[in-house]
Every structure is written in structure tokens, then in C-alpha cells.
Amino acid sequence: MNRRAFLRAAGVGGVGVTIAGCSTGNGGDDDGNETNDTDTGDANETDSNATGDEASGDDGTDGEDDANDTGPNGTGSNGTDDNATDGANGTDGNGDDGHDLVVTVEDEAGEPVDDAIVRIRTEGDILGGLFGGEETEEAATDSDGEVVAEGLSDGTYTVAAESGDLSGEREVEIDGDSAEVTVAVVEQTEGRLRIATYSSMVDGEEPAGVWLKEAFEERYPDVTIEWTVPEAGVNHYIQRAQQDAGIDVDVYFGLNVDDLVRIDDTLDEQLFASLERDRVERADRVRDDPAVEFGDPDDRVLPYDTGYISLVYDEGEVEGPESFEDLVDPAYEGTLLAQNAQDSDPGRAFLLWTIDAYGADGYLDYWRELVDNDVRILGSWDDAYSAYENAERPMVVSYSTDQVYTNRYDGDMSRSQIAFLEDQGYANPEGMAVFEGSENADLAYAFMDFVLSSEAQAEIAVRNVQFPAVADEHVDLDAEYDEYAHEPPESIALGYEELSGNLGGWIEDWAREIASQ
């Protein structure tokens, strides 16, 4: 562990810093370096807290990256070191002398970068940091891509690293203990990336979109992400294309297979560009599983998460059904709530699941039996779940992550039981794609690559309450999340080829059958 130290505690009270081994500097003035613990201004306060959390969550997940990506030099294990290890360096025990900050610099693939120049900047204490803080002298990383800053007092710091054309920076909060931070250096671009998505991505509780924007903009300080939420989703852009009204966004975030089918049924031209996979280094991290496959012959979509349709039931009222045949058994008469497949995602997934099980020739017969057994098909997922919550029926078609919410909202677990019919769950992967003709393709690919990074995958899973798109070894899920989010033994989904040309007819036939009852 041969870290190069470049900052050392000095002065009274541990708030000033002097520079070890460097002769020049722009932060030499002791007074100027004085930093208040948390005085970063109201506007920044929540930001710095948030990024502080990210930094600590990040250590674990990036460590995972390192473990897989790095060679024999063993920095992977360093990455997951906790603070106690740093304490062993001895400086931590000095209390007033401040804390260590271990900085690891890595490149986009997670490889350590040596000889990268690292600078640490304090938050300015004038006008909430508006004029920036003082900067330390620079130091270069060692062969493990690391340097140690010593003697830092509590507060928020910006760590900037630079290596040739690559650079990056990251905020870290030091709060009573030593800390470590990994800074990824990437090719910096600048500009504005406009991303269209659905409303819960930015407007829900703890939405993933807010985190993605903040984390990505931290990595690329000269980039601004603009979210936009068109009411009609992808249809908005299909219609724009039809009307030649121009498309003013770069990326669509939140596509599913049905959307692709509808685009191709409606438009002659391409709405989304085929992926240039070599521009997304992490693209091959996506797991090899039907749960995240779009089966798109034009390869336009990169999945970022997936969910499974299952039944949610009240174990005080019914036993969990095990098969589709169970549902038409008299024992389950009048127990099931489903949704209108015309415009509800879980409703449509459930319908497609029955088509997978009984075939295009047999699914309507099965649904007639379901109707005879008094299934009730309401409008949206919200409608059906409202009915379920008020005990209208003891079973509802829903998502296999239901218990995550039940846990979060102190609900009754006995009413949040998951049944995987035939030991299966119907997968509903969500993906992202770049609009054909986007002038920000570089940025768009950088964003997509970032979305597949370990930390982003872990955050999206928890905030969006979905399952990661990448393979297990590339993501480290929160334990609590893992406990309540259930994955079916087998995931199934009809892909693009099966749906193309069939989807509309299947749904129409089904809807006419139900509405004519």
C-alpha cells in the first residue's frame, strides 16, 4: 500500500492545510483555506448530502467493478476497504489533525489510472460557494491509481482528476472520519442532452431520473441533461415524425417491445437509430436472459431494467395459484382482478403471457373460461390495485416487486404475496434508444454507458423498483431491496418477431370478446 500523500495536516485546529512536496500552489493562504463543516449554502446542502451518500454507496459498487476488471495488482480489494483500513494509516487517530481522503482514479472501464493529476478543492464559503473554494496543489496518482490527501477537516470537497485528454471530478463529504472516493476520468464533452421519458421517472417518489441527471452531470460537469415528459409517450414522437413536426430530443428512456412494434407498424422511416455498440463499452454487461431481450432485428434498444408481471394475493383469503388452470378452477371463482390490455402494461403482459401459454389459437378460449370464472378486468393498474387494496378481490395482476412497496409503506405482508404461475414471470424490459438524426450521439452514448455502470444500475433498481439489466457480477443490490423483490424461476416474454404484425389483432380480438360479454 504505497500511496503517495500530498496533503498533510498542519496549523491549529486542523482546518488549515499545507502542502507536502509541492512548491507552488494557489491555495497557500491559510485563512483562505478555512472551511466550515457544512456551510455550503442552503441550495447546495441537499446536493452535497446526496452526493455524499452516493460517494459512500459508490465505494462498494465500484469495488465490484474493480474486482472484475482489474488485473493482478489487486486494487480491487482496496476499493472495498472500509474506513477502518485508513484508520490504520495512523492519521485518523490524531483527531484534530483531520482525516484522510483516499482518491482512486480509474478510467471508463474501471482500470486504475496512474500519473493522473489530482486536485482537491474546498467548497467556497462566500455566498454558498458561488465563487468557488480554494484549491490544493496537485499530485499524481501511483501505479494503483491512488493518492492520499491527509489532514482534511470535515466538509465537502470536490476532487478533480486529469489524465491527458481525460478528466473527471466528484464531490465527497468528509464527516468525522476518513473517506475514500473514486474519480472516473473520461473524455469530456459538453452540451445539452435532451431525454424524453415517462412521468414517474422524474415525478415519483425518489425518482431515478433525478439521480441520473445529478450523477451524470457530476461526471461530465459541462453537460446538462434535460428531461422532458411527453404525455403520450413514444406516440408523441411517432406523431411528430408523421407530421414532419421535427423532433427536439436525443434519447428516449423507457421503451418497451410494444413501442417498437407500434413504431414500425406506423412509420416508414426509422424513429430510432440502430445502436453502435462499440460506442457503449458496458453494453456487453447486459445479461443473457429473455427478461432483458427486445429481439429487435434493427438492434435499436439497450435495456436498462426489467420487471416481472406476476399475481399479488392475500394469503389470508386464498392460496397462491400455481398454474393458469388453477385460475379457472371453481376454487378461484371471483378472485382475480386484471387490467385492460388495450392500455395497461401489466394487463397487456398478462394477456401475452396467456398467449404464450395457450397459443394464438387457444388464448381466447382460455379467457372465456376466465370470464366464466368471474375475472374482473378494470382499466389501469391503478384502478385494479385500488380495488385490490379495498379488498374487492383477493388477487390482482401486478408486479413481482410489490413487497418492496409494502415494506416501504408499512403494509401488511400477508396481503402482498407473490404467485408465479407455472413458475414463470412475464418480463417487461425497459430500454433506451437514440433518436435517428440526433446531433448529440456522443453524449447520448456516454449517457447510456453511464446508465449501465454498477452504481447507476443499483440506483435505478432501487428507485425505479425494477431489476437491473446487467449481469449479477456487475451490480451490487441493496440487501433490503433484494429481500423483497422477487424474481421468478423462469422469465418469459414474447419478443419483437412474435409481436410484430400480431399484437394489435390479438388485443383487439380479446377486447371485443370481453366488451361483448
Partner: protein
């Protein structure tokens, strides 16, 4: 509008030599109606006829050539038109149809297949009956009795009108569900539980429609009731008519047009019903609008347009028929002495009379049907799995405090809703009054009046898509790109949706006025606008106030066109915020729904109090 009219020689009223300012006022006075009519026509052209025309034209043009084949396909499809499909497919094969009818009779005349259109009309008719039955007693109580809180209750009657469909569904499940408030009350009384919703989904959907529309019937009827000329009743009584006879011969004829107006509006509204049938009744009770929405989401706009045109033709035809009837009812009311109200519970003995007990029984029904779902919804906003909680309101507060600009924040939603509501009033009232005045005694009045009802007779889904394609994306008109979005467009769209309510509340009262009143004022030198302002409007103030309340409510509750025109800007409103806060648990959305309810209730009371001053 020629300038000659303002010139020195143009006046014969003896006041022409006053200052230029007065002359201007005189010009404006004489042409005010013309100016208002042109402005109204312009707003309607851009915000209604253009977007609707863009979509409707796709039903009759297939690749540039006009065709009716799309209509033929729909009409001949038993799924849409049920047992009539055979007749509509080949109307001239009379022999075969007669044979079919005989066949049907021989089979014992079973209930024929209704088809989507038939069922839609059927549930709308039932909903109309339910709304009238539930709404008329409310109008009776509010018009006849004086009691504490009467004014406030009157102001709040149309509160249900503004609630987003999803919130009504939440409220109905929380009230009538197996675990709902009503079953809890029954359980307390040692009864139940009763599976209200499961027992008859159709009945629950109809009650939900009555929840929305009975207040409409009540408010429209009440406005007419309050302008019944008390002296006419007194005259009848002095001529020896008993109270029942006086009511039947004097009051009922004046109320009937209003009751029928309320029924008509209810029928048209529930014919177009969409989210609530799916939420409470399910796909088995699908209406035409459900299919239109599906066609739009599949981007099969031409098919959606075909269904929507048929919807519009049916509802507009009904409206026209009704208006023909209404225009034949013009009376001679002078309506400036509203009826006296008697105390509801003057003493214990009266309080126990049959009539008072019936009022109490109605009150109990009203509490269950109207207050119950709203109260249950409010309770849902302060509970989660663990019982009482303020976390949903904390979510709203935190979003307001720390939310980013691209997120939906509660306060801008509240502020926009109120601003748009007031602005809608300012636009819709003059529009509605202008159309009322122009149509009420004109030769083509009934036809124009029926056309003025187009906003109610057009599918909301189709109107939304028309706004998107026509105004948000923009339309080329003679080399000029017409593109309208943002706050002004939202207000205009709200005004277009709201003015028919002003017309429908004002026109019957206006038609009921003695034409001699205006003629006298004109003979004495008043301009048409002056006569309108000074003579007619004060006499129909109760209708204007009722229309204003509806206009405000329409604006506050409007969702589908708001969300399209507000896209990408921060001009979102409270119902939009409710929808955007929906997640896998609906607590935050319900909390926002409660805010919507409280803010709207407060503004209704204010609108009514302010309006009441003009009424008095």
C-alpha cells in the same frame, strides 16, 4: 364596424356632441356585441373547429379522396351497432328486415344485442335518470328552505365536477369497497359486509356518473328556481290555486327547461364517459369512448375519428332536438323577485313532518353518495399501511422545497389552476353571454345554438389529439405557421370547454324574458349592449352565476387538453400534478387530490359570494 357610425352625423340620440371619449364609448357600446361575436368566432375557429376538423377530416378522407366506407364498416359491424347492424348494412332490404323482426318475435323477443353504441346510450340514459333523481331534491331543498350553511352547500354542490376520474375511482373504492367506509359503518351497526361494487358494477358506474352529474342537474335547476317570479306564484294563489296547483302550473313550467337542460348535459357527458367506467365497471362495460381512446393509442387516428364523428352526430342531434323544444317554450317572465324560503327546522313539530323527514332522508343519501367518496379519499391521503401518516403531505412539501425545475411542483400547479380558472371566467362568460344573446331570438338561433354545444359533443380524446396535431405541432395556413401552446392556449381551450355551460344556463332564462323589456329600453335610447347590461343581465344573474361556477369548475378539472398544451412547459395544473404523482402506491396523488379539493372548495365559496353580490 364602419367608422362612419362613430362620426358626428351618425347619431340620433341627442347625446352625440359630448366629448370624444364618450363618443368612443358610444361606438364601443353600439358595437360591443359585434366585437365580442367576432372575438368569440375567432377563438372557436382556432381552438375548436381547426383541431376538431383536422381529426374529423381523417374519417371522411382516405388518401385524399372523400369516402364514407369507414362509416359503413362501423355501422354494419354488430360489435358497434348490435342488432341494428344488419339493417344499417343494407337499409333497403326491407323484406329481409321484416323477416328478421318476425324471427325475433317468434323467438320470444329476447333482449337484442346492443352493440357498443347501444350500450353506451343505455348506460348514459340510466345515468341521466339517476342524476335527475338525485339532483332534483337537492335543488328543491336549496331553493325552498333556509338553513345554516345553505349558501355554502350551494357553492359546493358542483365540487364533484372537478375531481379527476382516478380520484373518484379511489374515493368510490374507499367508500363502497368491501373494506370501505360504508361497510365499516354497516359493520358497526352489526350488518354487512356487502359487496356493493361486485354485486352490480353497472349500478356503481351509474352512481359514480350521478356523483358527477347530479350536482349539475341540481345547480342548473336551482338557478332557474331562484329566478322564478314569486309574484306569479302569489297571483296564482290569490286567484284561488292551492300551493300544489300553483307549483304545478307556475313553477314547474319554468323549471322544466332547466331540468331537461341538466338531463341533456348529463346524457351527453355520460355518453362520452371514459376513465370512470373502466376504473369501476371494467372492460365489460366499455363505451365508445374507450374504443376511441384505444384507437388513438394505437395511432389509428382515422378509425378513432370515425367513431368520434358518429358520437358527435348522435349527441349533437339530440341537442338540436332538445333546443327545438326549448325555443318553443319562451315565456314572459320578468323574474326579479325570487321565491321566499322557509326555515328548514323552525320547531320540533315541523321538523317531524313527513316533508322534513323526507328532506332528512335525502340528506342521508347525499352524504353517502357525495360526501362519502370525497371524505374517504381525503382519509386515504393521511393513511398508509401502518395507519395515520403525514408522509404523503411531507412528500408534497419536500417536492415543493427541493424539487427541480423539470419536476412537477405543487405550488405552481395550484397557482396555475387558479389563474387559469379566473382567466377562463373572463373569457368564457362574455363568449357564452354573447352567443346566448345572438341566438336566443334569431331565426337560425337553434342551429347556431346546437353548434355552440360542439365542445360538449366532441370526444375529449379526439379534441386532445387535434390540439396536439393542429396547434402544438403547428399548422400551415397560407404560408403562415400557426402554433399555439402554453398558458394562453390553455385558457382558450378551457374557455371553449366552459362557455357552453354559460350558454345553457343563461339562454333559457334570457328566452324567458319578456321581449318588451328590451324594446322599451331601446326605444328610450339605450344601445343594444346597454340594454343587455342594464336590463337583461341583472334579470338572468342567477344563470350567469351558475354558468360562472361551471366555467370555473370546468377549468379547474380539465385534464386532457391541459396536459397536451402544457407539455414541456411549467403551465401544468392541479389535475396534471395528481396524475404525475401517481405511483405504485397512490398516497402522494391522493394528497395532491385533496389539495385540489380544498383549494377548489375555497374558491367556489369565494366565486359564489362575489357572484352573489351581483345576484342580489
Amino acid at each position: 364596424m364602419s367608422s362612419r357610425a362613430g362620426g358626428p352625423g351618425g347619431r340620433r340620440d341627442g347625446r352625440s356632441r359630448r366629448s370624444g371619449r364618450n363618443r368612443l364609448r358610444g361606438w364601443a357600446g353600439r358595437h360591443a356585441l359585434t366585437v365580442l361575436a367576432v372575438a368569440t368566432a375567432a377563438i372557436l375557429a382556432v381552438m375548436l373547429y381547426l383541431p376538431v376538423g383536422i381529426v374529423f377530416s381523417q374519417a371522411v378522407f382516405s388518401e385524399g379522396t372523400p369516402t364514407l366506407s369507414a362509416f359503413r364498416a362501423v355501422l354494419a359491424d354488430p360489435f358497434y351497432t348490435g342488432a341494428l347492424a344488419g339493417v344499417l348494412a343494407d337499409p333497403l332490404a326491407i323484406g329481409a328486415h321484416v323477416e328478421g323482426v318476425l324471427e325475433w318475435l317468434r323467438a320470444g323477443a329476447p333482449v337484442p344485442r346492443m352493440g357498443l353504441f347501444g350500450f353506451t346510450a343505455y348506460q348514459a340514459a340510466l345515468s341521466t335518470v339517476a342524476s335527475v333523481l338525485l339532483g332534483l331534491p337537492a335543488a328543491y331543498v336549496l331553493a325552498t328552505y333556509e338553513f345554516r350553511g345553505r349558501r355554502t352547500i350551494r357553492s359546493l354542490t358542483i365540487l364533484p365536477f372537478v375531481l379527476p376520474g382516478i380520484m373518484v375511482a379511489v374515493g368510490f373504492y374507499a367508500m363502497f369497497g368491501r373494506d370501505g367506509t360504508l361497510n365499516a359503518a354497516l359493520d358497526f351497526a352489526g350488518l354487512g359486509p356487502v359487496d356493493f361494487i361486485g354485486y352490480s358494477p353497472l349500478a356503481v358506474v351509474i352512481v359514480a356518473h350521478a356523483f358527477y352529474n347530479a350536482p349539475l342537474v341540481a345547480r342548473v335547476t336551482l338557478a332557474a328556481w331562484e329566478s322564478v317570479d314569486r309574484r306569479a306564484v302569489e297571483t296564482a294563489r290569490s286567484l284561488g290555486a292551492g300551493p300544489g296547483r300553483a307549483f304545478r302550473d307556475v313553477v314547474v313550467p319554468q323549471l322544466l327547461p332547466a331540468v331537461l337542460t341538466g338531463a341533456l348535459l348529463t346524457f351527453v357527458f355520460t355518453f362520452m364517459t371514459f376513465p370512470i367506467v373502466l376504473a369501476l365497471g371494467g372492460l365489460g362495460l366499455a363505451t365508445v369512448e374507450v374504443w376511441i381512446y384505444d384507437r388513438i393509442s394505437q395511432l389509428a387516428v382515422a378509425e378513432a375519428a370515425t367513431l368520434a364523428v358518429l358520437e358527435t352526430v348522435l349527441t349533437l342531434g339530440l341537442t338540436y332536438a332538445y333546443l327545438r323544444y326549448e325555443s318553443a317554450q319562451a315565456g314572459m317572465s320578468r323574474g326579479d323577485a325570487s321565491p321566499a324560503r322557509e326555515p328548514l327546522f323552525p320547531d320540533l313539530r315541523t321538523a317531524l313532518s313527513a316533508r322534513r323527514l323526507a328532506v332528512l332522508a335525502y340528506g342521508a343519501v347525499a352524504v353517502v353518495v357525495f360526501v362519502g367518496p370525497m371524505a374517504s379519499m381525503v382519509v386515504g391521503g393521511v393513511t398508509d399501511g401502518g395507519g395515520f401518516t403525514l408522509r404523503h403531505y411531507r412528500f408534497l412539501a419536500e417536492r415543493q422545497a427541493t424539487g427541480a425545475a423539470y419536476q412537477t411542483l405543487p405550488w405552481p400547479a395550484i397557482r396555475n389552476s387558479l389563474l387559469f380558472g379566473v382567466a377562463t371566467l373572463a373569457v368564457a362568460l362574455p363568449m357564452g353571454v354573447t352567443i346566448s344573446v345572438l341566438t336566443v331570438r334569431s331565426r337560425w338561433g337553434t342551429a347556431i345554438d346546437a353548434l355552440a354545444m360542439v365542445p360538449l359533443a366532441v370526444s375529449g380524446v379526439v379534441f386532445g389529439i387535434g390540439l396536439l396535431e393542429g396547434l402544438v405541432f403547428g399548422t400551415d395556413i397560407g404560408g403562415f405557421r400557426l402554433q399555439v401552446t402554453g398558458a394562453a392556449a390553455i385558457v382558450a381551450a378551457h374557455a371553449v370547454a366552459a362557455y357552453p355551460f354559460v350558454v345553457r344556463n343563461v339562454s333559457p332564462l334570457l328566452a324567458d324574458l319578456d321581449p318588451a323589456l328590451v324594446e322599451s329600453a331601446r326605444a328610450l335610447g339605450a344601445s343594444r349592449a346597454r340594454a343587455l347590461l342594464d336590463v337583461e343581465l341583472p334579470l338572468v344573474a342567477s344563470g350567469i352565476v351558475a354558468g360562472a361556477a361551471f366555467a370555473f369548475a370546468i377549468s379547474i378539472g380539465e385534464f386532457s387538453s391541459t396536459v397536451i398544451l402544457a407539455s414541456g412547459s411549467d403551465a401544468y395544473t392541479m389535475p396534471v400534478a395528481v396524475e404525475r404523482y401517481l405511483g405504485r402506491r397512490n398516497g402522494p396523488a391522493i394528497a395532491m387530490g385533496t389539495v385540489l379539493l380544498v383549494v377548489t372548495a375555497a374558491s367556489f365559496v369565494v366565486v359564489d359570494r362575489v357572484g352573489g353580490r351581483f345576484e342580489a
